[in-house]
Symmetry: C2
Subunit: 107 residues, 2 copies
DNA sequence: CTAACACATACCCCAATGGCTATACGATAA
DNA sequence: TTATCGTATAGCCATTGGGGTATGTGTTAG
């Protein structure tokens, strides 16, 4: 089974790929050429990473003539936020249990 | 350069490792043996993953006789939350810029 | 129609990494 | 002290995956 946050963590684990996503978040829509210019890797590598980001739902592409524009899809980060708050929730409830225990012991 | 969220994404990208961390969040402190029992991998592999989680600051270990107890360090997730809200922030501010532009064009 | 362009795909290479078994090491039990 | 137990480390192997170059495909310019 491959859960949503599984895909997100895997996809965002690579620095080059994450840098591409960050640029799209900061600077908005960009063409492959513009992204390649400052990516530090070759154009085919950029295209491959963008493909992986797209599969993860993190980016969208829009074709315009012979250019392809990519943009960040921020909503795709939701499962990541959910996972994080779920972990925090488990931790909190165990803390609450401890508090309960201490309170009962106090009586 | 290896930023904090860089380490976190890399560390949490592996399913086995993330499962260990999740169990520690859900069920609290556990020994290596207890974790190995349901991990689906060998004890040395569990130990290795726990070592990586520890390096990332995601878990703590406590030695008690010949047992080692591991527990989740939830605070270590903070850089992940920060990164996410930073990305959301960039997206939001670009949206605000667009709103400003449209408002000025409207006059 | 042809050439140049923007991007995607195919293919190969190599380093990183996750899994294993064997073993070392510290602590306890006998 | 010796045997056993719990965990960590060492060494090995197979796979994954990120990087490159070469080339395919569709589009616009001349």
């Amino acid at each position: 089974m491959s859960t949503a946050h599984d895909v997100l963590f895997r996809t965002l684990a690579d620095p080059t790929r994450r840098a591409l996503f960050e640029r799209l978040c900061r600077e908005g829509e960009k063409t492959v050429g513009a992204l390649t210019a400052r990516a530090g890797v070759s154009q085919p590598v950029v295209s491959k990473h963008l493909g992986i980001l797209k599969q993860a739902g993190l980016v969208r592409d829009r074709h315009e003539g012979r250019h392809t524009h990519y943009s960040a899809q921020l909503g795709a980060l939701t499962p990541l936020v959910d996972w994080t708050s779920q972990m925090a929730g488990f931790w909190q409830s165990r803390f609450d249990d401890l508090e309960d225990l201490l309170r009962r012991m106090d009586q």
